[in-house]
């Protein structure tokens, strides 16, 4: 939820961040910048309030996978980018600092993905309870 707010407040800045990743076709960047933060926010609300918890976890998991792939691909090709995770303004960091941040984000997102997996496991309907 916290990560979604700055993106919702300033979609052009988030679009710029997406552009910097060099993975999204030009025509889809703006739509992604507009849609993704709201989906991220709704998933966060669902997880916190326990409403549609399982579905919110699936969405959060899919978003985390997208972020992991985006960061991972750019790390692999040595293309340093501002993560744009919690702040959509460029931090003005050096290339080395950005690459280090990207590695940290990768580890953090894997941790968050494990939490999502835990929610999915906990909300699974037992086999004997299925209609």
């Amino acid at each position: 939820m916290i990560a979604a707010i700055p993106k919702i407040v300033d979609p052009p800045a988030f679009a710029h961040m997406i552009y910097n990743y060099r993975l999204v076709p030009g025509g889809a960047i703006n739509a992604m910048a507009l849609l993704l933060p709201w989906v991220e926010l709704l998933a966060g609300i669902g997880l916190i309030l326990g409403v549609w918890k399982r579905e919110a976890a699936i969405v959060a998991g899919l978003l985390l996978l997208v972020f992991l792939v985006a960061i991972g691909v750019n790390l692999a090709r040595g293309h340093a980018v501002d993560c744009g995770c919690f702040d959509v303004r460029s931090a003005g960091k050096s290339r080395d600092e950005l690459l280090l941040d990207m590695r940290r984000v990768l580890i953090r997102d894997v941790g968050l993905l494990l939490l999502v997996a835990q929610v999915l496991a906990a909300t699974r309907t037992p086999r004997w309870n299925r209609p």
Binding site: P11, P12, G27, A33, W38, V59
Partner: protein
Amino acid sequence: MVRGSDVARVFALIVLGAGAAALSNVTASTQRKLAWVGSYPRALDTGAPATTSPPTRLVPTASAPAASVPAAPTSAPAAPPAAFEPDLARDFPPHPGKAAVEISSEAVERLHDRKALFLDARRSSVYAEGHIPGARSLPVWESDIDTRVKALFEEGLDQRAPVVIYCSGGNCEDSHMLAEKLYMVGFDNVLIYKDGFPDWQKRRHPVATGANP
């Protein structure tokens, strides 16, 4: 295991998100608004921004605008602006085959002293925090950028005169994006201050603040 009801609810969440995004975008200010479909021709390029291969022009020459671009007003000044003086014309000749050319900090200082047109491609909020004195704000990531470029075109400026564009230096490509937009409406002499505003500050040049040049 993902069930059918899970998929339906996930889809519902996405649809709800799309509705909220549409509503939010409709009510957003010009600086925060985004067109749903953007146009970023180099979105998948990972190399350095191209300054040699120009995009397709909307106007073939400065004097013959295409139908999609409004003609320059008849009140356009006939004489070239002060910036396009013989020595500048010699040192910064128009380059109709290229969208932009990168220039050194020293060249930027000289052009600034000679009152060349400076354009700031960063966000308007960043521009207000500090910019090169005299530079005009043309934030390439804001929704009214095409209107601003059109307005600049309609001022009837000499399109062969040097125009300096800058952004945040480093990996910032906003200058190149704006350069391509200007090139497409016929500006033949766009120069990019590659190291941008951070370099200007580092060199302790004066800085203006606020929304106006």
